[in-house]
Symmetry: C2
Subunit: 282 residues, 2 copies
Amino acid sequence: MKTIENISRMSTFVKMMKKEGKSISLVPTMGYLHEGHLSLVKAAKKHTDVVIMSIFINPIQFGPKEDFEKYPRDLKRDEEMAREAGVDVIFYPSLKDMYPEGYATYVTVEKLTGNLCGESRPEHFRGVATVVTKLFNIVKPEVAYFGQKDMQQAMMVKKMASDLNMGVEVKMMPVVREKDGLAMSSRNIYLSDAERRDAAVLYQSLKNAEMLVKNGERDARKVTKAVEDMIKSKQSARIEYVKLVDAGELSDVKMITGEIALAVAVFFGETRLIDNTTIMVK
Amino acid sequence: MKTIENISRMSTFVKMMKKEGKSISLVPTMGYLHEGHLSLVKAAKKHTDVVIMSIFINPIQFGPKEDFEKYPRDLKRDEEMAREAGVDVIFYPSLKDMYPEGYATYVTVEKLTGNLCGESRPEHFRGVATVVTKLFNIVKPEVAYFGQKDMQQAMMVKKMASDLNMGVEVKMMPVVREKDGLAMSSRNIYLSDAERRDAAVLYQSLKNAEMLVKNGERDARKVTKAVEDMIKSKQSARIEYVKLVDAGELSDVKMITGEIALAVAVFFGETRLIDNTTIMVK
């Protein structure tokens, strides 16, 4: 495995691989890897010759009061985990290389991004769309892998790739969870012991909601109320949203029918976690 | 020469050319070709194996009161001129193929686009940046050619390609002019005979301004005033702007020094024409 730290060397490598007829996949990450990321690598290895993992903490997707500065970083640890998982190249560009002085170009997706996380993080998805466009242009992958924990992000990237004719297949892979069901996230490390115990309620509340729907509940308000009540029972929890949305458009639903997603964003102490599950109702 | 009318067939063709190791250039146009477009083809032919000309009247770069509906169209005529000039492929996609229902992704360049035409056409450059991104992604050219008549557009595209790591070299070629100096434009066909005669004043006023600067004038206001006075002497002319700007940033200048651009937008009757010249002052 090699680590490439600048854009022009990455481009040279990609050109070489293309010349040799190799297929390329990209696993974009912000580093501080966990099993969720590695599951994407595993899927990528099955389908392409060369797996490139980008590690770049993208400042323009963080709000002014968010955790860009303190976001966990540990390249040595990431390199070991990535090598072990079979990554071929880590792409680790610098901030200055990605956003040189005078940088001015942004990509926005005007659907899928207004609801859920888009409400409290108005610039977030623009930042993601922009950096993913840059990474796609540099790495030129046939396929890119995203995790379903960030469902809204993955759906937006898929829409963007299609709208802009990027020729990249965007695949969304299942959430990978801890033993107690907490979705893997680099931000879990922020949690105190008590918050970490409380955070397991997210998965429990999603499972409970699935059960309610399975048992015939079709009133979205009643289901989200049940989820909210479970989460509120935890002392360190503060709900940002609990929403049932159409799984295609991500717009709020009142009645549960067809393919829907239940998505939650909850603070445990200072740490904002998200999770979701999709539910199919015939 | 062949004409390819949909995106997926264009992609297949491009893939084939890449496999054969051919270099590709793109000349993006809205059709109704003139010598300006053909000069871009000529330059493209010198530097690449395959010259692809796109002909697509891009609705999202027209304002609600602009001339999208009546923009001149004549594919047969364009095909003849393009073949004659040595174009290899005309890419002529449909509206529905380029902007399918639910289309939602846009590219914006936040510098270079606020002044000059950006003031009266707030959505225009977003529309151009978006369609050019799509065309670059479909055609995957090494080089793309733009005319200096649309200087602000060419500069924005260059900035966008660099910011988003598109790997496309953007070349801006000199304005091609009629015998009386009027810049070639598909929109010139809208002009009545009287308006057409009046429109020659644009070039005359630019030349006169160059002369004033050459003779030592450094006060931007005095130069733009002279240009305005010449243009106003024509009955059918109505000035939108006459501006002296920094040729790097396109921001207004008061004193003429370094590399500057003199840019004008003027209505003759209902027809809006633009022109510009760059001036170097040591």
